[in-house]
């Protein structure tokens, strides 16, 4: 066995970067530390035309320090306060990678509440922009702690619209891409059901199944690729403090 030098977090960052390959000149929206690094990696390598946000009111030609806004550095190139964000969403020139508190096999996502929404067992943040994002432009999901509590049979509140619900006008611009987790990368099959695209090095198919609340088949899944030397340099330059390892610790 060779010495394992590539961290799980770095594999995840490269998978996020790959998810933005070919997205073109759109606004990248990335929720989470690994996604935030991943879109920077995508811009620095295969998709230079990608537009980054500072998470506040600016599109950035040069990104500010990780998790910081334009006030902390970088070069703003456009003013996109919240009022323009919803217009950008409706225009379709955006690609999101959002989090998920629950996700089902159709790709329905929940960030609103757990239990009956009338009086939830656990109130979360609210649907935020998930309903609008999913019917307007490409949406991927990022799950830092893959578990059977997140990958469930059915979500309690469909915040992000899954493939089974994307009919009529809701389906016109609906485009679910991938789900990147700390264990694997998922896509959707021709029936819109979640399938394993690749499994991260060091994860067994049994482990993946155990952490997923519905049946999946990872027996023939290829390994998620490891980042290149060049990519690793970019990743550590973007995240010198190693915040990504806190989001995805080594298992």
């Amino acid at each position: 066995m060779t010495l394992q030098t590539i961290s799980r977090a770095d594999v995840c960052v490269a998978a996020v970067s790959d998810a933005f390959k070919g997205s073109g000149e759109v606004l990248a929206h990335a929720v989470g530390i690994v996604p935030a690094i991943g879109v920077r990696l995508a811009k620095a390598t295969h998709t230079p035309e990608l537009a980054l946000s500072d998470g506040e009111a600016f599109m950035m030609a040069e990104a500010p320090p990780l998790l910081k806004t334009a006030a902390a550095g970088g070069v703003p190139e456009a003013w996109v306060p919240f009022r323009s964000i919803f217009d950008i969403v409706a225009s379709g020139r955006r690609h999101s990678m959002m989090g998920a508190s629950q996700i089902d096999r159709h790709g329905n996502q929940n960030i609103s509440s757990i239990g009956d929404w009338r009086q939830p067992k656990r109130q979360l943040i609210g649907v935020r922009g998930a309903p609008g994002n999913t019917v307007n432009h490409r949406v991927d999901y990022w799950v830092a702690k893959h578990s059977a509590r997140i990958f469930v049979d059915s979500v309690d509140v469909a915040s992000g619209v899954g493939n089974d619900r994307a009919v009529g006008t809701a389906g016109r611009f609906h485009d679910l891409g991938v789900v990147v987790t700390n264990l694997a990368v998922f896509g959707y099959d021709e029936n819109g059901l979640i399938k394993v695209n690749s499994i991260h090095p060091g994860v067994t198919p049994e482990e993946l199944q155990e952490a997923t609340g519905f049946p999946i088949d990872a027996t023939d899944a290829p390994l998620t690729r490891e980042p290149t030397e060049e990519e690793l340099k970019i990743i550590s330059a973007e995240d010198p403090k190693g915040l990504r390892h806190r989001e995805v610790p080594e298992s």
């Binding site: 506040e56 009111a57 600016f58 806004t69 334009a70 006030a71 306060p81 919240f82 009022r83 919803f86 969403v89 409706a90 609103s112 509440s113 929404w117 009086q119 939830p120 067992k121 656990r122 109130q123 979360l124 943040i125 609210g126 649907v127 935020r128 922009g129 998930a130 309903p131 609008g132 999913t134 019917v135 307007n136 509140v157 469909a158 915040s159 992000g160 619209v161 619900r165 994307a166 009919v167 009529g168 006008t169 809701a170 389906g171 016109r172 611009f173 609906h174």
Partner: protein, 269 residues
């Protein structure tokens, strides 16, 4: 023209049962001084319309919200407001209308434009439709598309906080984002605007570009000078969020001992 109003007079303009819009976004530029006046008063039974932050948390904890219209409630640097989550989990907010953020803006726009609804794609296929059974869709008269018809949100009063204003009620923001404060003002029958500082009309454009004049006086009824009036939320560039204070707020709100919250509330108010 002088629309200045003392902070202590604000609640004389409000009544129980009103629909109140609150400007800002999450834990950013919230009219906290105005909200505190409501908390100190007997005013209750409110319908609150907001991109929620600690304003919603505090009003919910005080049991003053009968209905909440929101897209999210968050403290930004701390994702969840424990006062809000606690109220929801214990049935402390009798009625809620949880919208997608874009739908929320569409509702405000329709309200501001005195339209009965505004069409939007957001919401279709999601459980927002199930959580708001009164929501209807509308068929396009031009093609086969069908959109969500977000009903216009009309507000009795809007409360907003800006950086500067003149006494006539021309409001100026100096931070990176106007949020939706102008829209809140336009969607309301009356608007109470607090500011860090009231200056002369000349001064407004002496140090900042005219584009910073966000809210014209025709939409403002009262101007309240309240330095630090957004604390502990941010009011860039006058001050950032008081993260330490926000942590104290969250710890008190989270505590199982009600005395911790009472203690915080007494100190805060």
């Amino acid at each position: 023209m002088d629309k200045t109003l003392a902070l202590t007079e604000v609640t004389s303009q409000l009544e129980s049962g009103m629909t109140i819009g609150i400007g800002g976004w999450g834990s950013r530029r919230k009219p906290m001084a105005l909200v505190k006046e409501i908390l100190r008063s007997d005013i209750t039974d409110l319908t609150v319309v907001a991109f929620g932050g600690p304003d919603v948390g505090l009003l919910a904890r005080a049991g003053k919200i009968r209905k909440l219209v929101y897209g999210f409630v968050s403290l930004d640097s701390i994702p969840l407001d424990p006062n809000f989550t606690r109220a929801r989990e214990r049935g402390g907010i009798p009625e809620t209308s949880e919208y997608d953020e874009g739908m929320f803006v569409a509702g405000l726009r329709a309200g501001a434009n005195r339209l009965s609804f505004q069409p939007i794609r957001a919401g279709l296929g999601s459980d927002v439709m199930a959580m708001n059974p009164d929501l209807k869709t509308v068929k396009s008269p031009y093609d086969e598309e069908e959109y969500v018809a977000v009903p216009g949100l009309r507000l009795d009063v809007s409360l907003i906080h800006l950086n500067r204003a003149d006494a006539a009620g021309n409001g100026q923001y100096l931070g990176p984002d106007p949020y939706f404060d102008d829209l809140f003002a336009m969607a309301a029958d009356r608007t109470i605007m607090s500011v860090e500082q009231i200056v002369s009309t000349d001064d407004l454009t002496a140090k900042a570009p005219p584009q910073s004049l966000l809210v014209p006086r025709i939409f403002v009824n009262h101007v309240v000078e309240a330095p630090g009036g957004a604390h502990f939320t941010s009011c860039e560039p006058d001050y950032g969020r008081d993260e330490d204070f926000q942590k104290t707020y969250v710890a008190a709100a989270k505590s199982d001992a009600d005395s911790d919250w009472t203690e915080f509330e007494e100190r805060y108010l």
